[in-house]
Amino acid sequence: MDKPQIILHVQKSLNYTIFDAKWIPCSAKFIVLGNYARGTGALQIYEVSHGDITLVKEAEKSKAFKCGTFGASSLQQRSLATGDFEGKLAIWNLEALEVPIYSVKAHSEIINCIDGVGGLGIGEGAPEIVTGSRDGSVKVWDPRQKNDPVATMEPGEGETKRDCWTVAFGNAYTAHERCVCAGYDNGDIKLFDLKTMSLRWETNVKNGVCHMEFDRKDININKLVATTLESKFHVYDTRTLHPTKGYASLTEKAHKSTIWQVKHLPQNRDVFMTCGGNGTVNLWKYNYPASRVMQDSDKVDMGVAGTLQLVQNTVLSTQPISSFDWSPDKEGLCVCTSFDQMLRVLIVTRLKQLG
C-alpha cells in the first residue's frame, strides 16, 4: 500500500556517452562525466530547478572521463576527482575548470573506478582517493602528495593482471582505520586493510564484479554489496569475519542482466538501489537477522546473513543504467545515467516509511 514510488522527474538527452553522474554536496547541482564521439572528455554541471534541469557549466577535455568522486574533498572546496581513459587522475576546481588543481598519470591504462574518503565530513582521517584500473593495480592517493600514490596494491611479478572494475573505501571510523575493497573482472573481491597494509579478506564470486559499495564509509565495516555480470548480487555482513568461512553472505538474482551499480541511500544504510543492464532500477531493503553473530561447532564467532526485500522496481530505459547517485542532501532525490545518452533525475517517495 504505502510502498515507495520511483518517479521519473526530469530526463534529458545528451550528445555524448555518459559514464558517471554525481551530486555536488550541499547543492541542487550534479556533475555528469562522459565521452564525446570524437573521443574527448565531457564534464557538465547541471542544476535542478523548478521541475527542470539546466546546464550551469561545461568543459571539454582532451581525454574521455570514466569516473569521478567528491569523496576526498572538503565540503567547502567540493573539488571533483576524475579518472580518465588514459589513466590520468585529476582534481578539478569546479569554479575554474581550465586547469586541474592536481593531476597525475596514475595508471598505464583506463581508470575504471574511483572512490574518495576523508572529505565532506564523511570518514575520519586524511583525504584519500582510490583508483582501480585495467592495468590491474589499485592505488591510493593523497591530494597533498604529488606524483606518487601513498599505497599501491598490484599483482606480484608474473601473476596475470586482472582488470579492476570497482573500488570502494570503508572502515574509516578513526583517523587510522581504513579499508579498500576492490573487485576484478574474474570475480575476485579483495579487501585491503590500509592500516596494516595487508589483505584482510578475499573471495571469488565466479562472475566479474561490476560494482561494490559499503553501506557506509565512515563506520566499522558493516555491510558490503557486490554486483556481478550475470544478474546476481551479493550482500556480505562484514561485521564478523570467520577464519575459514569468511563473511556471511546472501545472493540475490535481479535485473536478468548485468547489474551495473549499487548505491546505498545516504539517509538509511539498509536501503539501496541496484541498476541493471536492461534499464531497470530496483530498490532493496536489507533486514537483519535476529542475531547477527552465532558460534560454530568450535565456538568461533561467525556472521549470520539477513534477508532482502525488493521494495520497488521500475523500467527506465532499454539500455544499461551506467550510473546512479542519491542526493546526499535531499532524501529521495537521485540522478541516473544510461547508455542511450539519457540523463534522468528520479524521485523516490516514502523512503522514510521504510524505517
Binding site: 514510488q5 604529488k146 606480484g156 529521495g332
Partner: protein, 559 residues
C-alpha cells in the same frame, strides 16, 4: 444500497492509492522546490564561510617510507606500518586520541587549526612552485641543447605544478616557436599574458607567432603594446615595419599580380646561393664598415628588412633565446669567476649554434660583398637588434664582419656591459685608429682590442706603447697566453728597437704577470730568438745595469 463487488472494491482501492501516490508526489515536489532555495542559501553561506572549518589532518600515509610501500596483492602478510603504536589495540588507542584531541581543541581553540592549515597549504604551494622552477631550469637546459620537444615537456610539467608562473608558458612558447608551432606558441603567450599582462617578452613572442601565422594586424597590435611598455625595443620597431611592408605588399599584389617581379624596390639585393663549384674563387675581402647616418640607417633598415626576411625570424628566435640565456647569466654575480667558468662551458652549446648561423651568413658574404651598401645596411640592421638584445647579439654582428671565434671568450668575461657596448660600436664602424688611441683599463677591453689589432703590428705598437707597464699585471691577469706574449715580444723587437724606445720596464712588468714563467717555458725557438735580440739590444743601449738585465734574462730563460 447496492453491495460493492470485490472487483469494484479493488478499483476503488487502486484509485485511492493512485490519489495517495499523486498527493505524495505533489508534496514531495513542493518540498523539493523549497529545498532548492534552501540549499542555495546554504551553499552561499558555505562559500562565504571560507576555510576556517578545516581541521588538522593526519599526515600523508606512508610519507616517511615511500619506497617501501609497494605491496604485492598476493602477499598475505604485510608489514605493519611503523607510524602507529602497534602495542595498543585500536579501541584504547582510539579513546586516547579523542581525549587528547578534545583537550587540544579546548586549549587552542579553532584559530590554531586554521593557522595550521594555512601553513600546510602554504608549504604545499611553495613546494610546487619550487618544483616548477626546477622544471623550468631543466627545460632551459634542454632548450640550450636544442632539444625543444624535451624542453616543452619540462615546461609543461612546470606549468602543471605552478599554473601561476608566467615564465613557464612564455618559455614554452619560445620552444614552440623554434619548432614553428606558431598557433600553440600564440596560445601559450596568451596564457602568460593573462598571468602577467606587463610581460613584454610574451607580447614579443606572440607577435612573432602571429607573424608566423600571417596574422599581421594582430601581430602589429602586440608589437605596439611592446613599444608602449618598452619604447626602445628595436625588434618591435623593425617587426612593425616588416609587417607594414608585408601589408603593403599584399595590397600591391592584390592590385597587380602581373608585374610584381619587376616591382622590386631598389637597393634590395637577394642573397645568391651557388653550389660550391660555381662559387667565385677570389679570396674573401675584408670590408670596412662605414657608420651610416641615422636617417640612412632607418632607410637601409627598411630595405634590409626585406633582404633579411628569410633569415629574420630565425635570427629573432636566436636573439630571443640568447636574451633568455643572458637573463640566466645576469643572475650570477659577474665577479664570481667560478660561476663564470661554469657558465662558459654552458654557453658553448648555444654559441656553437650562433656560430653556425653566423657562418651561413658569412658564406653568403661573397655574393653580398659585391653590394657594399647592402652589407652596411644589413649590418646596421643587425646592429639595431644587437643593441637591443645585448651582448650575444652584439657578438653575432661582430662575428659577421669580423671574427667568430671571439664568441666564447667574450661571453664569459665579467665586464659584460662594457664589452657589449664596445664590440657593437666597433662592429658598426669605428675605425681601428680610434681603438689605437684608447688606453685599456680592463683585461676584457684589452682582449677585445687585441683581437682587432693583433694583425696590424704598427697599430698594436701604438696601442701597446700607451699602456703603462705597471698596469700589465692587472690587464693580462687572466689572459696572458703565449699568443699575446709573442705578439708583444715581436712588437718590442720590431718597433721599440727601431724607434729606440726603452723596453726594459715593459719586459720587467711582463715578467710579473701571472703564469708568465709557464708561458716562457713553452716558447718556441723562434720566439727565444726574438727575445735574444731584444736582450742584446738592451745590453747595447746600456741604460740599465748589467746585473738587472741578467736577472731579467733569467726570468725569460735567455742566457
Amino acid at each position: 444500497m447496492s453491495k460493492i463487488s470485490p472487483h469494484e472494491e479493488k478499483m476503488l482501492n487502486l484509485q485511492y492509492q493512485m490519489k495517495q501516490n499523486n498527493q505524495e508526489l505533489q508534496s514531495f515536489l513542493k518540498d523539493l522546490e523549497s529545498w532548492e532555495s534552501e540549499i542555495k542559501d546554504k551553499e552561499k553561506s558555505l562559500k562565504e564561510k571560507g576555510k576556517s572549518q578545516d581541521e588538522i589532518l593526519p599526515p600523508v600515509r606512508n610519507s616517511l617510507e615511500k619506497k617501501k610501500l609497494k605491496k604485492k596483492v598476493k602477499k598475505k602478510k604485510g608489514e605493519a606500518k611503523p607510524k602507529r603504536i602497534s602495542a595498543y589495540d585500536y579501541r584504547s588507542w582510539d579513546k586516547f586520541d579523542v581525549d587528547k584531541a578534545c583537550e587540544n581543541l579546548d586549549e587552542n581553540g579553532p584559530s590554531s587549526s586554521e593557522e595550521e592549515y594555512e601553513t600546510d597549504e602554504e608549504w604545499e604551494t611553495e613546494r610546487k612552485k619550487q618544483a616548477a622552477v626546477l622544471e623550468k631550469d631543466k627545460g632551459n637546459e634542454y632548450f640550450k641543447k636544442g632539444d625543444y620537444s624535451m624542453a616543452i615537456e619540462c615546461y609543461t610539467r612546470g606549468a602543471d605544478l605552478d599554473p601561476t608562473n608566467p615564465l613557464l608558458p612564455a618559455n614554452r612558447a619560445m620552444a614552440l616557436l623554434k619548432q614553428d608551432k606558431f598557433a600553440a606558441a600564440e596560445l601559450d603567450c596568451s596564457i602568460a599574458l593573462t598571468l602577467d599582462p606587463l610581460y613584454t617578452k610574451a607580447y614579443l613572442r606572440r607577435g612573432t607567432a602571429r607573424l608566423g601565422l600571417n596574422k599581421y594586424e594582430e601581430a602589429r597590435r602586440d608589437y605596439e603594446r611592446v613599444l608602449q611598455l618598452e619604447p626602445q625595443n628595436k625588434q618591435a620597431k623593425s617587426d612593425i615595419e616588416l609587417i607594414e611592408k608585408e601589408l603593403a605588399k599584399q595590397q600591391m599584389v592584390s592590385q597587380s599580380t602581373a608585374d610584381d617581379s619587376q616591382a622590386r624596390p631598389s637597393g634590395i639585393v637577394k642573397a645568391i646561393t651557388k653550389p660550391p663549384g660555381q662559387r667565385s674563387q677570389k679570396p674573401l675581402r675584408r670590408i670596412e664598415i662605414e657608420e651610416v647616418g641615422f636617417e640612412d640607417a632607418h632607410e637601409g633598415k627598411a630595405a634590409s628588412a626585406k633582404t633579411l626576411e628569410g633569415k629574420s625570424r630565425k635570427m629573432r628566435d636566436l636573439v630571443e633565446k640568447e636574451t633568455m640565456d643572458f637573463q640566466k647569466f645576469t643572475v650570477n654575480s659577474p665577479a664570481d669567476i667560478a660561476n663564470m667558468a661554469s657558465y662558459r662551458s654552458d654557453s658553448k652549446g648555444a654559441s656553437v649554434q650562433v656560430k653556425a648561423e653566423t657562418q651561413s651568413v658569412v658564406e653568403n658574404k661573397w655574393d653580398v660583398s659585391e653590394y657594399p651598401e647592402t652589407v652596411s645596411s644589413c649590418t646596421s640592421n643587425i646592429d639595431n637588434l644587437a643593441a637591443n638584445t645585448n651582448i650575444h647579439a652584439a657578438e653575432k654582428t661582430d662575428g659577421l664582419v669580423k671574427d667568430n671565434r671571439s664568441l666564447n671568450d667574450v661571453s664569459s668575461t665579467p665586464d659584460v656591459s662594457r664589452v657589449s657596448k664596445q664590440s657593437s660600436s666597433q662592429s658598426s664602424s669605428v675605425p681601428k685608429s680610434q681603438i689605437a688611441t684608447s688606453v685599456p683599463t680592463t683585461s676584457v677591453q684589452f682582449q677585445a682590442d687585441y683581437r682587432h689589432l693583433k694583425h696590424d703590428k704598427e697599430q698594436f705598437y701604438q696601442y701597446f706603447k700607451r699602456i703603462p707597464p705597471a698596469d700589465y699585471r692587472t690587464l693580462f691577469g687572466q689572459f696572458l697566453d703565449a699568443d699575446v706574449l709573442v705578439t708583444i715580444l715581436n712588437v718590442l723587437q720590431g718597433c721599440y728597437i727601431r724607434d729606440h724606445v726603452d723596453c726594459y720596464l715593459c719586459l720587467k712588468h711582463l715578467a710579473d704577470v701571472n703564469r708568465f714563467s709557464m708561458i716562457v717555458m713553452f716558447m718556441s725557438g723562434k720566439d727565444t730568438q726574438v727575445l735574444k735580440t731584444i736582450f742584446i739590444h738592451l745590453r747595447e743601449i746600456g741604460e740599465h745595469s748589467a746585473t738587472d738585465i741578467d736577472t731579467l734574462a733569467v726570468k725569460y730563460e735567455v742566457r
